[in-house]
C-alpha cells in the first residue's frame, strides 16, 4: 500500500482483514476511515482521487452487495476504484447466511465492469494486489482483489464468532 501511494483505507472490518487493519491503525502515514456502510467507501475513494489522493476499500464479500449502485460513481467518472475483499460463503463455509453474497460477489462485480483478481493462495496476494492497484490507478479502472476463504481459513461455526 505504501509503495503504491495509498494513504487511506476505508473499511467495514472483517475477521480476515484484522492483521492488515491493525497495521493501518498503527501506521501514522495511513488514515483509516471507518464507514457506516461499505458504499460510502466508494464515494470517499472517488472523492479522494478527485482531490488528488489515493484510497482503497477493505471489506467482506457481504459488503460488496451494499456497493452495487455506488459503483455507478467511479464507472461514470472513469475514476479508479480499488477494493480488497475477503471472501465468505465459499470454501468450507458453515454459515448459509454468507452464501448468497459470497457466491454472487464475482459475477455481480464482473457484470458492473469491475475487474476481479481472485486469489486462492497466500503467495498470490501481494502480486495480485499490486497488479490490481496499478490497473486501478494507472488505467483508471475499477478493480477488486478477492481473497478466497481458502487463504484466510474457513470459520469454525460454533467455536468462533461469525
Amino acid at each position: 500500500m505504501r509503495s503504491l501511494g495509498i494513504g487511506t483505507v476505508c473499511t467495514i472490518p472483517d475477521g480476515g482483514l484484522t492483521p492488515l487493519l491493525a497495521m493501518c491503525h498503527e501506521d501514522p502515514d495511513t488514515r483509516v476511515v471507518t464507514l457506516s456502510t461499505e458504499e460510502e467507501g466508494i464515494g470517499i475513494t472517488t472523492g479522494l482521487w478527485l482531490g488528488g489522493a489515493r484510497g482503497m476499500i477493505a471489506l467482506q464479500s457481504s459488503g460488496v452487495g451494499n456497493c452495487i449502485n455506488a459503483l455507478t460513481l467511479p464507472v461514470a467518472f472513469g475514476a479508479p476504484c480499488l477494493m480488497l475483499v475477503t471472501m465468505r460463503g465459499q470454501w468450507g463455509e458453515f454459515n448459509h447466511w454468507q452464501v448468497p453474497m459470497g457466491q454472487g460477489t464475482q459475477p455481480i462485480l464482473t457484470q458492473l465492469g469491475v475487474r476481479c483478481y481472485p486469489v486462492e493462495t497466500a503467495q498470490e496476494v501481494a502480486p495480485a494486489f499490486t497488479a490490481a492497484a496499478n490497473m486501478a490507478f494507472h488505467a483508471q479502472e475499477r478493480c477488486a482483489v478477492l481473497i478466497g476463504q481458502r487463504v484466510i481459513g474457513a470459520k469454525a461455526f460454533g467455536r468462533d464468532e461469525d
Binding site: R31, V33, E40, G43, G47, L50, G51, G52
Partner: protein, 195 residues
C-alpha cells in the same frame, strides 16, 4: 446553535445563488438532481462536481475531496432525500472531523425530481442528527436574512459544520450542466488540485 422545525420556505434559486456567491475558492459537491441544477443555474462549472447518479453518495464524495485537500474548503450541497439516504455518513464525518468540510441541505421535504412525493425530512430534525453524530456547529435556515451568518459558518468557521434550509417546492427552468462523467471529473480534479 439551536435547531428547530419550521414551516417557512425559501426560493431555492435565490437562496442557493446568494449562498454560492460567498463561496470564494471553495469546491462544491452537489447531490444529483436539483442541487446540481442549482449549481449550474448559479454559473458554477469546473468547481462543482455535477452529479447525475449514485444517489446517497454526495456527502461521502465531498468527504473524500475534503480529506485529500485539507487546505481547501469543500461544501456538500445535499438534497433532503439524498441526505436521508446517507444519514450514516454524518457519523463518518463526525468521526473524521475534517475542519474544511461544510454541509448544506436543501430541504423541500419532498422528492422533487420524481413528482413531489412526500419525503422523510419533514418529520426529521436533521440538525439534531448531525449534532448527535458529533458535528458541533449546526444551523437551521428559514429566511434570506440568515444568509450572511450561514455563509460565514459554511465557508469561514472551523468545520465540520452542518446547515439545513427549508426551501419551497417549485418548478424551475432546468439548467443542465455537463453530463459526460470523465469530462466533469477531469475539470473538477484539475480545479481541486490546481493542475
Amino acid at each position: 446553535m439551536a435547531c428547530s422545525m419550521t414551516s417557512n420556505y425559501l426560493d431555492r434559486r435565490d437562496f442557493t445563488a446568494a449562498v454560492l456567491s460567498g463561496r470564494g475558492d471553495a469546491l462544491v459537491v452537489p447531490s444529483l438532481g436539483a442541487p446540481t441544477w442549482d449549481c449550474a443555474a448559479a454559473g458554477l462549472t469546473a468547481e462543482a462536481l455535477h452529479s447525475w447518479g449514485g444517489m446517497g453518495l454526495a456527502l461521502a464524495t465531498a468527504l473524500g475531496v475534503a480529506l485529500a485537500q485539507p487546505d481547501r474548503r469543500v461544501l456538500c450541497l445535499n438534497g433532503d432525500g439524498e441526505m436521508m439516504m446517507g444519514l450514516g455518513t454524518l457519523a463518518v464525518v463526525g468521526d473524521q472531523a475534517p475542519s474544511n468540510l461544510a454541509i448544506l441541505v436543501l430541504d423541500n421535504e419532498h422528492f422533487g425530481e420524481t413528482g413531489g412525493q412526500p419525503g422523510l425530512a419533514r418529520s426529521t430534525d436533521l440538525c439534531a442528527i448531525a449534532e448527535g453524530a458529533g458535528i458541533p456547529r449546526t444551523m437551521t435556515v428559514t429566511a434570506m436574512e440568515q444568509v450572511p451568518a450561514l455563509t460565514d459558518m459554511l465557508f469561514h468557521r472551523p468545520g465540520p459544520c452542518f446547515a439545513t434550509s427549508k426551501i419551497a417546492l417549485g418548478d424551475y427552468p432546468l439548467t443542465m450542466p455537463e453530463k459526460h462523467g470523465p469530462s466533469i471529473a477531469a475539470a473538477f480534479r484539475a480545479t481541486a488540485t490546481n493542475s
